[in-house]
Symmetry: C2
Subunit: 201 residues, 2 copies
């Protein structure tokens, strides 16, 4: 490890040990995977963002695919995404997506949008997304068809993230976050609540 | 032009002229751009899908960027997407996205999801998407904040397409299309209808 990879010079932070460095690399890869197609992300870009050298990334993770496989799950992010009582969960999730976009340029659940459509990596990401995001939400929902309603609720949130972060809709971006929460969360809540039996016509 | 690029051997179709071939190339590029990151699409892939040779693509369009710039608009698709009276437009658009996904593997408006986040091509696609999809929808909406509500309605549809085509949510994909229309369209209609003034609490 070179001097560039230690924090010994920074007072108060102590020695930067392997676990901290690994976490920084994972964080950098997550950041890039939420914003770019996999094929466009280089090992060097991950290393640069993490503030380490490419060989150090290889030392800890073996290769880019192995690193991405480790990164391709949502366990570390979903707790805060779902951290609200059911009656406030729609507003919380909408606010989470908007705040993530406004403050950090993306929200972790949006990594699924950049999932490759072909190949093993996309399949891993999709499998994890279903189990760790959609099914975890479904477990909390009362009433029939909870699995379908959870997918529809998550659809709403993905779409908002795409409009904000990819299409960059100027009106959504200019609006006050709480205004968008007020307008959009009722649609999420409608999926979360136990459905009433009624004529759709 | 080689024999492979004429339809003279196919009875009843007549000679395949330049305009038809160009249209096939544009269609092939649209198909690929709705499913893959730009950087992953080769000129050869476009040519193969159009059933022509890569040099023929170059002859008609100059280069890949010039072809993609021509393809990066939604004019040809938005008419059918918005082709319903306002009272049925939510159901129509939800059905359009689901039918496009189920029958053709995507919906044209989903091309925006694959827009590059950096560079001129992404900016062209975003500008066109706003003008040709969001603003055209906004023009039809009564009431205040039509531009914001149009973006939120389009968000809902983009999210459904992402869940179906990229995350591949098994419950959305297994459900009857009209069941999903019944459950999802009310959220779209809520954005399309003139908002009532009410306390959001």
């Amino acid at each position: 490890m070179t001097a560039a990879h230690t924090d010994e010079r920074r007072p108060g932070t102590g020695r930067r040990d392997a676990e901290v460095t690994k976490a920084d690399i994972v964080k950098a890869a997550r950041h890039l995977l939420a914003r770019h197609a996999h094929g466009d992300i280089t090992l060097k870009a991950v290393a640069d963002r993490a503030g380490v050298s490419p060989p150090l990334v290889l030392k800890y993770f073996g290769n880019k695919d192995a690193l991405f496989s480790r990164v391709m799950n949502f366990e570390a992010d979903v707790d805060s995404f779902l951290d609200a009582p059911l009656h406030d969960l729609g507003r919380h999730m909408v606010r989470h997506v908007l705040t993530g976009q406004a403050e950090r340029g993306s929200d972790p659940i949006l990594r699924i949008v950049f999932a490759p459509l072909h190949g093993e990596q996309g399949d891993i990401l999709r499998t994890n997304f279903r189990a760790q995001v959609c099914e975890r939400l479904a477990e909390r929902l009362p009433g029939d068809d909870a699995a379908l309603r959870a997918e529809l609720a998550v659809s709403l949130l993905l779409g908002l993230g795409v409009m904000y972060g990819i299409a960059r809709g100027p009106h959504v971006r200019a609006a006050d976050i709480e205004t968008v929460v007020d307008r959009y969360a009722p649609a999420v809540d409608a999926q979360l609540a136990a459905p009433r039996t009624e004529d759709a016509s």
